[in-house]
């Protein structure tokens, strides 16, 4: 098969959208945090915790949706911890974020080993099944790619619309955007900066965790160590690439996923001349490249990473 022909197969786009789904959730989560002025480097760990929480709930007999909900709650808890340390206490968002990633990851592994001490290959669950949308799913290519996915993928797209609506069309979204730009504007209007930021980080972290849960309950059917594998860091790059706008970040996530799906297929047809590791490196390298391309003209939320003290301006 020709490399370019891949781009026109439905199965390629099905895979791309599937790969994009967890990234979309987590990118939206990070975007909310950063729009409120908090860089959340806990993302990698929170996704790990979400992946485990979702899977473990289902494994313990819970419903799939219950798994997603539990994952979101676990994510929000880590988000609250992050926010407590970085918002009212104003601690370094870099250090706390890395700390949250280490904590969430290690707690996940600890809990996994505690729950399943002797297991060598992780047990499987029955994951979300594709749910073709009547009518739309019979469209050529697009029908299969976009409308024959699992419910969680649809939810990912819904989350983009919801985040966009909230940020640009609701009073609270106004407050979130303002607090990331100039917190004193928010305080002067009688809204709590701490409240908005804490809320944004908690909700954002919940979305990240759902992104993690997608991997265990929709893309695969079990939990294994290191399964997040840098996806969280890539989402941080995607937020920058998307200029902190939900729509652009969505496009970024899909482009990235398409590239990822493409390199897997390219790997198969390259016949082993090029080491497979080179293909695996590409997504990470691409993320760095994307950052270089956009960084110069990126307009950061001005208060990003700057702690706020009441009455200070």
């Amino acid at each position: 098969m020709d490399a370019l022909e891949i781009l026109f197969t439905a199965s390629f786009w099905v895979a791309a959208i599937r790969i994009a789904s967890p990234l979309i959730f987590a990118t939206m989560g990070e975007l909310i945090c950063e729009r409120a002025g908090v860089l959340n480097l806990g993302i990698e760990g929170i996704m790990t915790a979400g992946a485990f929480a979702g899977w473990f709930t289902v494994y313990s007999g819970g419903d799939l949706w219950a798994g997603v909900l539990v994952a979101a709650i676990v994510g929000a808890m880590f988000g609250l911890l992050h926010a407590t340390l970085t918002v009212p206490l104003g601690l370094s968002q870099h250090v706390v974020g890395i700390g949250i990633t280490l904590l969430a990851t290690s707690l996940t592994y600890f809990t996994y080993r505690l729950a399943l001490p002797e297991v060598t290959s992780p047990p499987k669950i029955e994951p979300f099944q594709p749910l073709p949308i009547p009518g739309l799913s019979s469209l050529p290519v697009i029908g299969e790619a976009l409308f024959s996915q699992t419910p969680l993928t649809y939810l990912a797209f819904v989350s983009v619309a919801a985040v966009a609506w909230i940020l640009y069309r609701t009073p609270i979204g106004l407050a979130v955007r303002a607090v990331g730009e100039n917190p004193s504007a928010v305080e002067a209007q009688g809204i709590s900066v701490t409240g908005i930021r804490t809320g944004a980080v908690a909700i954002g972290s919940a979305l990240m965790a759902v992104g993690g849960a997608f991997l265990t309950t929709s893309a695969f059917n079990s939990f294994f160590f290191q399964m997040i594998n840098g996806r969280g860091w890539i989402c941080i790059a995607l937020v920058v690439f998307g200029s902190w706008r939900p729509g652009k970040a969505l496009i970024g996530a899909i482009l990235f996923a398409a590239f990822d799906a493409f390199q897997v297929r390219l790997q198969q047809i390259s016949g082993g001349i090029v080491p497979y590791q080179v293909f695996l490196m590409m997504p990470y390298a691409l993320s760095i490249l994307a950052l270089i391309l956009v960084a110069r003209r990126a307009t950061y939320p001005k208060a990003l990473m700057i702690p706020y003290q009441k009455g200070e301006r």
Binding site: G99, T105, Y109, F110, V240, A285, I288, A295, G311
Partner: protein
Amino acid sequence: MRLEPKLAPSLAVTLLFPLAAIATTLVLTSMLVLVAGASPLSVFYLVAKGAAGSQFALMETLTRATPLIFTGLAIAVAFRAKLWNIGAEAQLYIGGVVTVVLGTGTLPLPSVVLIPVIMVAVMAAGALLLLGPAVLKTRFGVDEVVTTLLLNFIVLLFVSMLLEGVLKDPMGLGWPQSQKVIAEAQLPRLIQGKRLHYGFAIALVSAVLVWVVMKRTVLGYEMRAVGHNPEGARFVGILVNRTLMKTALLSGGLAALAGFSEVSGLKGNLTLDLSPGYGYTGIVVAMLAILNPLGVIASAIFVAGIFVGADAMSRAAKVPSYIADVMVATSLLSMVVAILLARFRIRWR
């Protein structure tokens, strides 16, 4: 709620807060131990015994502390200048690669020449690896956190490629591992018959040297000034970007030495599990030491002790050894809070 700076933190407070952070960590993690159905006291006793209860245990702890001193120093140096190097893991592996490339017979030199040559080459490689993100930061404004993190994945894949390709040990029964380094490239044991090797001594010397650089030299002064206030540093004539470059070179070089020390002193060859996350743990080590190079020695030994002790403990009690990772992460977060409380007073109104 407001934070008000304390005028002069007393010495007692300064010494007390690391202890308070450790105490907090123990309290929090003992809850996990209770969940696991074990007694916290006996578990912590087993951890302590496993870490320092015998000469063997102590040697093991110091051996494990060696790479952590290097990565801890690398992070301490970088964070001082607020260069967020989260890529010590990658720099460590590059150090391992260079050690193997030069140490497997490529350079037929006597030990006294070969080892310094390898060390210089290793440091240069690690330094160059961090120089990339530093240049991207200063020239293009790309956040170095993300680039160094992503480089960790790229470098690990690169090492995997080498170990399945050009560096693959033909006698390795198909495992992705390199050949052993030659005897001349090996760091001798510090004590006959024990695993503790000269890497530990080099780490101690490095810590002292880094301390001197930070406290006594113009470069250390510039790094601290840039870290505290880049605008203010630029105003008094410090070349901020150049200082960040120098910081990157020093930090990357130090992290790479961890890889050299592990390959040359302990493992003998390069594998994909050379480091169980020493690069990331180095962040905790550096923060526990409040970025003080001499403090890094103590905190690296402490953190290594937790890992070694937890391994021993988990064999005896039914508590997963991942408790060590939880303790380390918790201590990082408790420590940053403790530092804050030592410097500021929280006023609720």
